[in-house]
Symmetry: C2
DNA sequence: CTGTTAGCGCCTTCAG
DNA sequence: CTGAAGGCGCTAACAG
């Protein structure tokens, strides 16, 4: 392997203590000695061994990103990749390494969270794609190792979260629909064990009631964020409600599925049915017609999560919640209720 | 922190050596002692410190995945995520950790590759998204640390690669088009510094010549795999060749851009212009019309890369090339030349 | 079968 | 300002 601190010390004619001092920016080192050491470091191409350092410092400068079901999540795909990028960039900028873990791999599934953290020796953990009823969830919040949850609003002294305001996001979507004159608005939600689903449902409900429209649980369908669920969802809602004129989907992918289904029935969007999605994935602007949706700033969520975690690590900050604002992006899948129906 | 091997030893009334022995599956341990130790390990919730182990073993059981420009690659997105999943799953199954690095972050860019590997102490490296003219490329191949390149066909004793057969992929695409009667076939390629671009060009050229069609460099446009390049590409090619009836794109995203451009001109696909893409991203089957394309098994590429690297690490295998077969997926964007033109 | 003894490469008091 | 000494938690000969 490469040269060690010992080699540098010998070559520079000083003790390893001194080398360590200059490497760690200690001030009490004779300028001459310092430059001497630095020169040797340079010419030997010395790289401190981070493993050895970690052992004595009891810090690895590494954070773990645990994703539930990374590969199986054909749905989360678009969402996760961007968050991952944000995390990765920020973590790196702040001088940490990022280790990836997916809990999908069968064996890992039951390993208690803490065992895994302690074994891997990460300084902190970021989690995404986790469900409220996941066994990890509780463990993470209670753990002594700092963590940041993405889209799971739970806080403790050692646990923060980053999310977008899902209540507001859903509210915006519904208000938009209400303003267009829609009264019978369906909601194809995500599965009930996702925190975001609960929040979006709340927003849906609040916006409706605020508009003087009674909330009807029958208008809510629970899917799993995937395309197919969108189709099944609208189909079911349309069967129950003949006057359904708009549907709000908890993911763009489901919205896409819904639209495809409608189109297969020769029902036009938005003339016959207005559609609002959630996420604003790349695909949303590529579809025909282009999807009206609620945008989440995924990359920023990742960045923010990384920052928050590292602040907890270095500034000893306590856990807290960070809520980013969503944004309604009006495109082509929503229109006034009742208009243009004659053309069909 | 948690208990150490010392605590276990004391509690079990043996030396730490013995504890170490049972933990590492040594056979020469009295069954009674073994169970005793195991019991203590259990009740103390002892987790071996991997950092300490790494220090003495000189192996971290960690591999690095370096991605050039992870976040900036709006294009690679679809491709990379799947490969990443494959890598992650396989690496984990084989008992390693995966550390993510993106070279985009400005500062990192010029750090010599080896410095970074040595500093991070990874046992091996996987690379993707790297260009032939990237300064890293050469370093990686020469490095003593084992590595596997994805889609860059370079081999050395310590460096393998995994790719799909791009020559064959392009050949299949062109043969398909030729069989449909097309003679003037354009090619919107990726940038020239991507290994895959060179190979696909070769396949394009070979298939053409085999069909008795002269290769004309003017029919090849070089883009950057992104959607916009597709539009620009077809536009330029159509201007040069009035009888252009088919275009082969080096990425689905570019194909999409091209199709959108054609549609904006009221030119129908495939009646007026047949289109073949490359990658078979999720989007390909969602488009209208659905895209005919060359599928790459991205997840499998990732798995294979991970496996190959770890075999080099553990079995001391030498570098080698692994070429996976692509597959032509015929959908709706290709049709017989000249047919249906009357309908337009 | 088991304990003793050396380190792995680095940081950190504590004396000069 | 600098060096000597001890130790982080674990593995690996080498003796019993």
């Amino acid at each position: 392997m490469g040269p060690t601190i010992k080699d540098v010390a010998k070559e520079a004619g000083v003790s390893i203590t001194t080398v360590s001092r200059v490497l760690n920016q200690y001030s009490d080192v004779n300028p001459k000695t310092r430059t001497k050491v630095l020169k040797v470091v340079e010419q030997l191409g010395y790289q401190p061994n981070s493993v050895a350092r970690s052992l004595v410092m009891k810090r690895t400068q590494t954070v773990g990103l645990v994703v539930s079901d990374l590969s199986r999540s054909r749905n989360g795909h678009h969402f996760m990749f961007d968050v991952l990028c944000g995390i990765n960039d920020r973590v790196q900028e702040l001088g940490y390494d990022l280790v990836l873990f997916s809990t999908s791999t069968t064996a890992q599934k039951k390993t208690p969270y803490m065992d895994f953290v302690r074994q891997r020796r990460v300084d902190g953990v970021l989690m995404m794609g986790i469900r409220l009823d996941d066994p990890y969830t509780h463990e993470v919040v209670e753990a002594s190792v700092p963590s940041v949850l993405i889209d799971v609003p739970l806080v403790s002294d050692t646990c923060s979260y980053v999310t977008t305001d899902n209540v507001a996001g859903a509210t915006m979507a519904i208000q938009h629909l209400v303003e267009l004159g829609h009264r019978r608005i369906g909601f194809v939600n995500g599965h009930a064990q996702a925190a975001v689903s609960k929040e979006r449902l709340q927003g849906y409900r609040m916006a409706l009631e605020e508009a003087g429209i009674a909330y009807d649980p029958e208008l809510v369908y629970y899917g799993n964020f995937e395309q197919q669920d969108g189709a099944t969802g609208v189909a079911e809602l349309m069967e129950k409600f003949e006057d359904l004129s708009a549907v709000f989907f908890a993911s763009d992918l489901m919205a896409l599925g819904g639209i495809k289904y409608l189109q297969s029935l020769q029902l036009r969007v938005p003339e016959r049915m207005s559609i609002v999605g959630y996420d604003d994935i790349e695909l949303a602007a590529m579809m025909q017609p282009m999807l009206t949706t609620v945008r989440q700033t995924r990359y920023e969520m990742g960045q923010s999560a990384a920052e928050t975690l590292i602040r907890m690590l270095e500034q000893n900050e306590k856990g807290r919640g960070i809520v980013l604002p969503p944004e309604l992006v009006v495109r082509e899948t929503t229109s006034k209720h009742g208009v243009n129906l004659s053309h069909i």
